[in-house]
């Protein structure tokens, strides 16, 4: 039995060490940093400053706006990606098995294979108000043009569109997997009973897919909460602070201004919010199941 325990330790030991080194230690160190005014370029000026960073952060308008912008992206982004993902998954399921569907599905998932930073850089060119192909197509269709990233009124909306474009294929794949696992006999039985397509969706598919959708919601929630690459590549938080998000704010404090203590505080607050809302979401979805 003792040998059994040692064997188990030998197997999971390396993972625990890695977890401690790359997760636990950085987290605790960030926590420590958040109570200091440490700057990576200038060292400690006053050393331990207690809750000063947290107080300053709560009074910082840019940080508060970043939370609000992040929340907007999450609410609209997640709901759109789930809805759109469901509709497109239904379309793929309807023609499942055909070579054309397989081909289209392959092209459809290309965006999720591109790193977010590159996708962001590409989107800057696509959505360029003067040179971009999006405006060119809109003009050709007589639909006018938009400023996209170039206006505080449309920049966040553009971020939302680009994120939706890139990640809806991900939710589509998850939901499609769930749909393909729904027993066909349920559809047959409900058809015999006179159920319409919509009734089948609401009374068969959605209940059976709730777990899969729940996973998709949680994953997209965490991804959008952490969103950095796309905004860094495109707007850098502008125009003004209209696309400022939490991760960009934390990054700027730590790596542009080298106020590592203050940046760690922002990153920790972001982590706390992510964990809190993810666990609430998980609890809610488990209860629904």
């Amino acid at each position: 039995m003792h040998a059994n325990r040692i064997e188990k330790l030998l197997f999971i030991g390396p993972v625990i060490v890695l977890l401690i080194l790359f997760s636990v230690f950085p987290l605790l160190y960030s926590l420590f940093m958040s109570f200091t005014d440490f700057s990576i370029a200038r060292g400690y000026t006053n050393g331990f400053i207690g809750l000063d960073n947290y107080v300053q952060l709560m009074k910082n308008k840019q940080f508060l706006v970043s939370i609000f912008n992040t929340a907007k992206l999450i609410v609209f982004g997640v709901s759109t990606q789930i809805l759109l993902g469901f509709v497109i998954a239904k379309l793929f399921k309807a023609r499942h098995g055909s070579r054309l569907t397989t081909f289209l599905r392959t092209i459809y998932i290309i965006p999720i294979m591109v790193t977010p930073l590159i996708f962001g850089l590409i989107s800057v060119y696509l959505f360029d108000p003067v040179y971009g192909i999006i405006n060119y197509i809109l003009q050709a269709l007589d639909l006018g043009t938009m400023t996209w990233y170039g206006s505080e009124k449309t920049a966040l909306f553009t971020i939302y569109i680009v994120d939706t474009w890139q990640w809806t294929p991900f939710t589509t794949l998850l939901i499609l997997t769930g749909l393909l696992n729904v027993n066909e006999s349920l559809y047959e039985a409900s058809s015999i009973d006179g159920a319409s397509v919509l009734q089948q969706v609401f009374h068969i598919e959605i209940p059976l897919l709730s777990r899969v959708v729940g996973i998709a919601v949680i994953m997209r929630f965490m991804d959008i909460f952490r969103m950095f690459d796309l905004i860094y590549a495109s707007t850098k938080g502008g125009p003004g602070i209209s696309t400022e998000v939490i991760s960009l704010f934390a990054y700027r404090q730590s790596f542009n201004f080298y106020k590592t203590g203050f940046g760690s505080t922002a990153a920790l607050i972001a982590l706390i919010l992510t964990v809190f809302f993810s666990s609430k979401l998980n609890t809610y979805l488990s209860r629904e199941n």
Binding site: I40, R42, T45, D128, V130, G150, S151, T235, I241, Y258
Partner: protein, 470 residues
């Protein structure tokens, strides 16, 4: 006999195979030997001179960390000559602006570094010198022949930039100055002279925007993107509006950092921001997101009538592979609110030795070689930004670049501290840029934005130990 045939056949095949292999090896030997012969270095007379001046660094590798600006390819190409002369291998790593700063600060904080040469920006001079990221080059320079260094041949304002508290932080090999760039063809056609004042800029911008005679043309492209882009633009224009961002920071100041009380709510500062706002309507759609590359792109593509760009971009405008406006462009002195008040912005890059590097002598060899007059002339001919007065009298460069006379008129009018060269510089410029962008979007009035900016910077600089009046 019959029984031996397969054996004989095998014997013959093996012999033929062996003979073929020997022939192949001999031929390969000739090929590689010839290649090796071709690889033996044949140096020019100038390189022969340098080979006696520089050390033999065969088998060594030198790493350069720098900005990925348009002339990086020219630097890489010319560095091959150093490889030929010394036997060293030169590896150049180029990054975006923010990444260059990040990486250099992070690298500078390590006890040891693989990076030998750091190319740093003008505003980072104080930060890097105070933190000890780069060597003081004074002792290195003093050991050399003064004709080789030709210190006084560097532009005087940029010599000031690279000097921090009696240290020389790097050699000023890539100085930038902002000049006006104009579409001479259409300005002449419409009867405009190149703008001398900011009112002239506005008039030209207004004329060429939404003009049915010039469809798809805009009046101007400015650096408007939130953060460091428009923040830098503010520091480019404020002095030409007769203003000063901090109480002791102005051209001619005996000590630019004596009184760092922010002055962003002065009439001149507000006038500068209002100028940016007024020009928005004459710029391409989505103007609020325009940054350095976009500005250059719009002008080089023929979309705008005027732009005010760093001199590092000038070579691109005369490159047929990159510009649609060759032979249509003229250059002029940076405009000001009143005639004769032009204070052209100054920036650019210097080459320093990483303090925690392990190959400082080799780094110095590279720096003094690359920054020498002859190699600098080659660099400029290949598209690098001019940094020496001798370029203005060189027949090759003056024949190639039509904007050199404007640059010559510009260089000695600049102010070395046009952007603060202190450790807080990055934070100051980004904070300024964020507030100005909020004013440009209309989220805040200009008054409110500049007042709030003043308060925030006063607190920041006071906490950092600078002299700030209450």
């Amino acid at each position: 006999m019959v029984l031996h045939l397969p054996y004989l056949f095998k014997e013959v095949c093996m012999k033929r195979l062996s003979l073929s292999l020997v022939l192949v090896f001999i031929l390969a030997g000739f090929v590689f030997a010839n290649g090796a012969v071709e690889d033996q270095v044949t140096l020019t007379a100038e390189e022969e001179m340098w080979s006696s001046e520089l050390h033999d660094w065969s088998g060594k590798t030198i790493r350069v960390m720098m900005i990925g600006d348009p002339w990086i390819d020219s630097l890489i190409e010319i560095s091959k000559n150093f490889e030929r002369i010394t036997g060293a291998k030169v590896i150049v790593d180029g990054y975006g602006y923010d990444q260059t700063h990040e990486k250099e600060v992070l690298e500078g904080n390590q006890p040891n570094s693989d990076v030998d040469i750091i190319v740093l920006d003008a505003p980072w001079v104080g930060e890097f010198a105070e933190a000890g990221y780069v060597e003081n080059l004074k002792p290195y320079i003093e050991k050399e022949d003064s004709d080789l260094i030709a210190w006084n041949d560097y532009f005087s304002t940029f010599r000031d930039v690279v000097t921090w508290k009696d240290q020389i932080v790097g050699l000023p090999f890539a100085s930038y100055y902002v000049m006006g760039n104009y579409r001479k063809d259409i300005l002449d056609k419409e009867g405009f002279d190149f703008p001398v004042t900011t009112d002239d800029v506005k008039a030209i911008a207004k004329h060429f925007s939404n003009n049915p005679d010039y469809p798809n043309m805009y009046g101007v492209a400015m650096n408007n993107q939130s953060g460091s882009a428009v923040g830098q633009a503010f520091f480019e224009w404020i002095y030409s509006f007769g203003g000063k961002p901090f109480m002791s920071m102005y051209p001619g100041s005996p000590d630019s950092y004596a009184d760092m009380t922010p002055n962003f709510d002065s009439p001149e500062a507000k006038e500068t921001v209002q100028f940016f706002i007024d020009l928005l309507e004459y710029q391409p759609e989505g103007a609020l997101s325009i940054a350095w590359d976009d500005r250059a792109k719009y002008f080089a593509s023929g979309y705008v009538a005027q732009a005010f760009m760093w001199s590092a971009r000038m070579a691109m405008l005369e490159d047929p592979n990159k510009s649609a406006v060759i032979d249509k462009v003229d250059f002029g002195l940076f405009p000001s609110s009143e005639p004769g008040k032009s204070a052209p912005p100054l920036g650019g890059w210097l080459m320093g030795i990483a303090s925690n590097g392990n190959q400082k002598d080799m780094a110095w060899d590279f720096i003094k070689w690359f920054c020498s007059q002859d190699v600098h002339q080659e660099f400029v001919m290949a598209g690098g930004p001019p940094s020496r007065y001798s370029i203005f009298t060189d027949p090759e460069t003056t024949a190639k670049y039509s904007w050199l006379d404007t640059l010559e008129d510009t260089v000695d009018r600049s102010y070395a501290d046009c952007r603060p060269r202190i450790p807080e510089s990055n934070e100051i410029i980004t904070t300024v840029g964020t507030y100005i962008s909020r004013a440009m979007t209309g989220e805040l009035t200009v008054d409110k934005a500049m007042k709030a900016l003043n308060v925030e910077l006063a607190e920041m600089l006071s906490n950092a130990g600078y002299n700030v009046s209450k």
